[in-house]
Symmetry: C2
Subunit: 196 residues, 2 copies
DNA sequence: GTCATTTAATGACTACGGTCATAATAGGTT
DNA sequence: AACCTATTATGACCGTAGTCATTAAATGAC
């Protein structure tokens, strides 16, 4: 149906224009009026695509899922599960670092909406799911021996990852610092996971 | 000066009335009008004391500092630094648990404002400082031997603590679960800290 | 007590996020 | 084409956070 294609196209347009404006002027300084004017549509139309202004940031978080999948594809043939997961998460961290200001805001919104809704956001769920799938494969291929259930392992890793992101937003550190800190934390956690 | 006393008194009144209303109806459902009406003052007066409605939540976070100091006093004479710190942080967690809804919101605001301001909030700074002071005392008394600088140790512990808080807001878990998880994480970190 | 000055209180006003009833339009049906 | 229905666009409108010029009050000097 053409309808669907148009809808998605317009949503993408609103999303991209909004991001550009946010980058230029900062989230708070951009009004919904401004976004819609830039897109050549009426103000009300915005809210047909995003329930709240903040939802642009949630969508940004969700759009990282694509990146995640690309990265998993890229590192599909790495043998050691630890290395594989580390590479994937490092890709995410790296991307995060190159758009840090907006990504920080997006993280806040993801956490906030998750804590208000009492359930995890789409993007966190996805990360969890993809990690679980990597871990399961590794288990089945005999590359990982652990007494923990896959879900528990995935949760632990997501926890470390988010802790890293959070520290970053708080400490305003460089990518190299954060990455280093992440690796150290990951080492500790992995030691508890892998009983090979 | 009487001026100062009155000011503080009114700020406290606004703060307490606002908290009560937030608890009754939820943060979003309470208007500034309502808060000021309950206090018998004009709407504009609110903003002489708190720059934003959200700042009530930040103030709530800061008010935990008192609790922190009380707790440190209470456990001042515990010999082992590990036990001492664990007791203090457990007190904080426990208090957090008994006002969890508001404290979750407050945590979000603390993190948010910290990430926007690019620096840590008062409450986080205080926690860091007090931990550092405990650690330093322990070092000087020969009760703790570590190759790490005091600040690094304090940062690591604050990190674990905040990770715990964050997990809590995301997972909607019970106090006992969270507390258990915190102890485990703390054990791991402490192992890296203490080289006695 | 009176005047001057600093500080706090106030509510009309502004700007923006979000709603909603209505208008426009696309797709399908005959 | 003519009509009907479901979907999308729209901007007037509403409620509220936050501003600000003005008023009121407190403090201090003489």
């Amino acid at each position: 149906m053409l309808r669907e294609a148009r809808k998605k196209e317009l949503k993408e347009k609103i999303f991209l224009q909004a991001l550009q404006l946010f980058r230029d002027k900062g989230f708070e300084q951009v009004t919904v009026q401004e976004i819609t004017a830039t897109c050549g549509i009426g103000k009300g139309t915005f809210f047909n695509y995003f329930a709240k202004k903040e939802d642009i940031l949630l969508y940004l978080g969700e759009s990282q899922i694509e990146l995640l999948q690309q990265s998993m594809e890229k590192h599909r043939n790495i043998d050691q599960p630890k290395k594989q997961i580390l590479h994937v998460l490092d890709d995410l961290l790296h991307h995060f670092s190159s758009h840090s200001e907006l990504m920080k805001l997006a993280s806040m919104e993801i956490i906030k909406s998750a804590s208000l809704a009492g359930k995890e956001s789409k993007s966190v769920q996805q990360l969890h799911r993809q990690l679980a799938s990597m871990i399961n494969s590794a288990k089945q291929d005999g590359k990982l021996h652990s007494r923990w259930e896959t879900d528990i392992i995935a949760t632990a890793i997501v926890g470390v990852y988010f802790h890293t992101i959070l520290s970053w937003t708080l400490l305003e550190a460089q990518y190299s610092t954060i990455n280093e800190s992440f690796r150290r934390q990951f080492d500790v956690v992995w030691e508890g996971i892998d009983h090979s």
